[in-house]
């Protein structure tokens, strides 16, 4: 075997089966809604029917009197708020003075059966003074808009505003001289875009079981919560924050997670279940009905964009400008910041300005959704990029390449680009089977879009314990999302130089693992992998020292390679032989690595879409779809492909089908999987993947985050394909048949 054929890794890069695979195909895996404890009762949450109303009074006495009811709780059961952020979190748990969206929780009941709990909740009498509601982001910014929070003042560079406003904050990125940049341009394009609120759409609803130990008074007992979440520690911290408990007394046990995509970074049911369980003095389970998932849990922002770009005749971007207006829902915190990061992210913009507005509206408080804020911003920017390329007569990939950033280039949103593989991705797209294949036939077109996405590092913990037979237990606090315990264990196996079947990974809880941030931001395989590698290196160091002691040789003389410790010509232990020795004397070997990874590699992705547009019905059919992405080093290529295909399909749903529909009262009209349509197997073709590997130097094996980038480019790629097919530039998401028929002039808006 010559050097070129030699694989750099023994385990990393292999298409290994998942450790949890068998349990996932037999129904044995325990998800949130599957948890049951002895003596458990059931909780139900009463929610507001109004989008905006003052609570005049609330009477729970009839609910409490219903036989089989064990507890009723409201905002009055929560400790008082200590800051604005605390009050927002508290009020989003149970409304106190006002309800701010349909589905806003106002009370909860625990009862012997789910049916009794629901019946009792309906007996709670809440008197509302209904107020005008606003769900549209621009309408919420008007002077005559109903104000959600009387004490909210716009926070901007100039400080705080002097009158109540729904604009929570305004930020600005400025680079160079945009006016001069546009004056230098030969071609200028400018458009406004509107995108709907969308939901993460995980198939598993939220579910929580809470139980208290009764040592002493119930209030100083210990709380255990079984919940479906992306972060056991984030749930713990949220519960501690809202219930004022010692961190040590709250144990959060994460279950298997049935899809999350950012939507399970946020805790919804844990505090209500804990309050009910304390009052009822028995375990309480709450499972959220599907309509409530749409109404009351974290969608992603609906948004409006005003974007302008200019370029010279030779294909250089001279200036770019964008205004981003993001609906945050009931409380501030939209992903407008990361939307601004994505906006012109891949390109060198010599002169530019981005203004971002975080605006509260009468909808559920938004939560993260896979590359938060990026997808609609990319749709707007990549439409204009495509239009510039067209006006300049350049191939759309070539135009992007001419303007692409390289390491060290200054970003419009501040800072500089790190080690990136965006150019390699575009070049791979240019030569891939899809882009080089002809597309023929009427009403058909091909479009591309390209994105940068920042990714994340953060805090992770991984423990390894060596058993007497040479097997190794790996415990991580990072909740497993779609197979991350496998990709973490594969990195541990690589570092330990052991076959992967010798490693047994599992996900621990907050009592028995070190701190970890949420499994989000495409960080888990990357950052928790680094923790696993560090723990493995420490295990090997300890094992070498133990071998040296057993052999009575200097530790420097003990070498380790491919599962064998050796010193000199004749001293030799396999990993298992040494493991047996060390467990028998001097204590066993184990290590825990806690890391806070401060650097990480950005991800780049180019998508290619072929569509056919029916000019009579406006229906868009996807004929072919390809995802090209730099993943640094694919730890498990099959799982990487799955992330690319799944992310792209969510982006396709965002592009063509998905969106919250509200009436004038602010009520959501489509809170179910029939009317809120996510893609089915019939709506997408097989999705081709091109994995590009530009190793990220700060990770021992070159890994970059993978999960988020592929959701970003689909709307832009599809919109640009629609333009080539039908000659119209969609400017709304979702790009429904009605929107296309309006653009085609077939129907009026």
């Amino acid at each position: 075997m010559n050097a070129q054929e030699q694989k750099p890794f023994a385990v990393v890069g292999e298409r290994l089966p998942r450790y949890d695979g068998a349990d996932k195909v037999t129904g044995k895996a325990i998800f949130g809604p599957d948890v049951a404890l002895p003596g458990m009762c059931y909780g139900f949450i009463l929610r507001s029917p109004h989008a905006h109303a003052r609570i005049l009074s609330s009477d729970t006495s009839r609910a409490e009197a219903l036989p089989g009811v064990y507890a009723v709780v409201t905002a009055a059961d929560l400790p008082p708020a200590e800051s604005a952020d605390h009050r927002y979190a508290r009020d989003n748990t149970f409304a106190s003075d006002k309800v701010l969206y349909v589905g806003h929780a106002v009370a909860a009941v625990a009862a012997r059966t789910p049916a009794i709990a629901e019946q009792a909740a309906r007996l709670i009498a809440v008197e509302y003074d209904v107020l005008p509601a606003v769900t549209d982001v621009l309408a919420a910014m008007r002077d005559d808009a109903p104000i959600l929070h009387d004490d909210m003042r716009t926070h901007s560079l100039a400080g705080h505003g002097d009158k109540p406003s729904n604009v929570a904050s305004h930020f600005q990125h400025l680079k160079g001289d945009p006016a001069r940049g546009f004056a230098e341009a030969d071609v200028i394009v400018e458009r406004e875009f509107h995108t709907a609120t969308v939901h993460q759409g995980y198939i598993e609803s939220h579910a929580t079981v809470a139980t208290w130990s009764d040592d002493g008074a119930p209030s100083n007992g210990a709380l255990t919560i079984y919940t479906t979440t992306q972060g056991s520690f984030s749930v713990r911290d949220h519960v501690v924050w809202l219930l004022d408990l010692p961190m040590s007394n709250v144990r959060v046990v994460p279950t298997e997670v049935g899809g999350a995509f950012g939507g399970k970074n946020t805790s919804y049911l844990d505090v209500p279940a804990a309050l009910l369980a304390r009052k009822a003095r028995r375990p309480v389970k709450i499972t959220m009905p599907r309509p409530d998932v749409f109404l009351a849990t974290g969608p992603s922002s609906g948004a409006v964009f005003r974007v302008k770009m200019g370029a010279t005749r030779d294909g250089r971007i001279t200036a770019a400008q964008a205004e981003l207006y993001y609906a945050a829902g009931a409380y501030p915190g939209s992903p407008v910041g990361s939307g601004a990061n994505v906006m012109f992210g891949p390109y060198v913009i010599p002169n530019g300005q981005i203004d971002g507005y975080d605006v509260v509206t009468n909808g559920p408080r938004v939560s993260s959704y896979r590359a938060p804020g990026g997808t609609p911003a990319n749709f707007a920017a990549e439409t204009l990029i495509d239009e510039l390329a067209e006006k300049l007569g350049l191939d759309p990939l070539e135009f992007r390449l001419r303007n692409h950033a390289r390491e060290g280039d200054e970003r419009l949103d501040g800072g500089t680009h790190g080690h990136i593989g965006g150019i390699e991705v575009l070049q791979a797209a240019q030569t891939c089977a899809h882009y080089t294949a002809p597309l023929t036939g009427p009403n058909r077109g091909r479009g591309v879009a390209h994105t940068a996405w920042g990714n994340w590092g953060g805090r992770s913990s991984c423990a390894l314990n060596v058993n007497g037979d040479g097997t190794v237990n790996l415990v991580t606090s990072s909740v497993d999302l779609s197979g991350t315990r496998t990709t973490i264990a594969m990195q541990a196996a690589e570092a330990l130089q052991l076959p992967p079947e010798r490693i047994k990974p599992s996900v621990g809880d907050t009592d028995n693992t070190g701190y970890a941030d949420v499994s989000a931001g495409s960080r888990t395989t990357y950052a928790t992998g680094i923790a696993a590698i560090q723990a493995a290196e420490d295990v090997i160091a300890q094992m070498r020292a133990r071998a040296a002691a057993l052999w009575d040789v200097p530790v420097e003389s003990v070498a380790y390679a491919r599962g064998v410790f050796a010193s000199g010509a004749d001293l030799r232990f396999t990993f298992a032989e040494l493991a047996e020795q060390v467990t028998g004397s001097g204590g066993s070997v184990g290590s825990i690595a806690n890391v806070d990874v401060a650097e990480w590699g950005a991800g780049f992705s180019t998508h290619i879409a072929d569509v056919e547009v029916d000019p009579e019905t406006g229906k868009v059919t996807l004929l072919r779809y390809t995802v090209v992405q730099d993943v640094g080093q694919a730890v498990n290529p099959a799982m990487v492909e799955g992330q690319m295909q799944g992310g792209a399909t969510q982006g396709i749903g965002w592009a063509l089908y998905e969106g919250y529909a509200y009436n004038e009262k602010g009520q959501m009209l489509n809170a179910n999987f029939l009317d809120y349509k996510i893609p089915t197997a019939l709506d997408v073709p097989l999705i081709e993947t091109v994995i590009v590997e530009v190793p990220y130097p700060q990770h021992p094996y070159g890994v970059r985050g993978v999960g988020e980038p592929p959701i970003v480019p689909p709307p832009g790629a599809i919109a640009n394909a629609i333009y080539r097919a039908a000659g119209i530039r969609p400017d709304h998401l979702p790009m429904t048949p009605a929107h296309l028929l309006e653009k085609l002039g077939v129907i009026e808006s």
């Binding site: 298409r15 089966p17 998942r18 949890d20 695979g21 068998a22 349990d23 996932k24 195909v25 037999t26 129904g27 044995k28 895996a29 325990i30 998800f31 809604p33 599957d34 049916a115 993460q200 759409g201 995980y202 198939i203 598993e204 609803s205 298997e256 997670v257 049935g258 899809g259 999350a260 995509f261 499972t287 009905p289 599907r290 999302l481 779609s482 197979g483 099959a638 799982m639 492909e641 799955g642 295909q645 799944g646 992310g647 792209a648 399909t649 969510q650 179910n672 999987f673 029939l674 996510i678 893609p679 089915t680 197997a681 019939l682 997408v684 097989l686 999705i687």
Partner: protein, 164 residues
Amino acid sequence: MTNKTLVSATVNNEPVEFLCEPQQSLLECLRDILGLTGTKEGCNDGNCGACSVLLDGQLVNSCLVLGVEIEGRAITTVEGLADWRGLHPIQQAFLEADGFQCGFCTPGILIATKALLDRKPNPTEADIRAWLSGNLCRCTGYDKIVRAVQVAACHLNNTCEVDA
């Protein structure tokens, strides 16, 4: 308090008897009374397919069937696919082809796949997509699911190409 009805049925080839309230769905009976939590609730209104089971060999959403309706009838859930010999070839195929990510919709998709392959041993890609269009998956983009069904079909038909 509602009166409960005694229901006798066959679940995964075993006789079962259980007491069920008249409004309880088959999904609730399977999960909450019989402890068969492999069958999942995604929407409880027949739109996601996570609760798919076979009722006398027919693919149904168990959230849309009442528990009392299965009197004297036979149900197959995901727990009934594997037996003492090991995993069912469909389960094996989904493992081999990485036909799942989070695994939550998987039980329903496995059951729907069984119903398809029982009727149509050699489905085309279009057949598979049409048949599975009632089973929502938010993770995979369906690509590896469609391929897993194709692998399952060749396993069951003994037409898989053997590795050289």
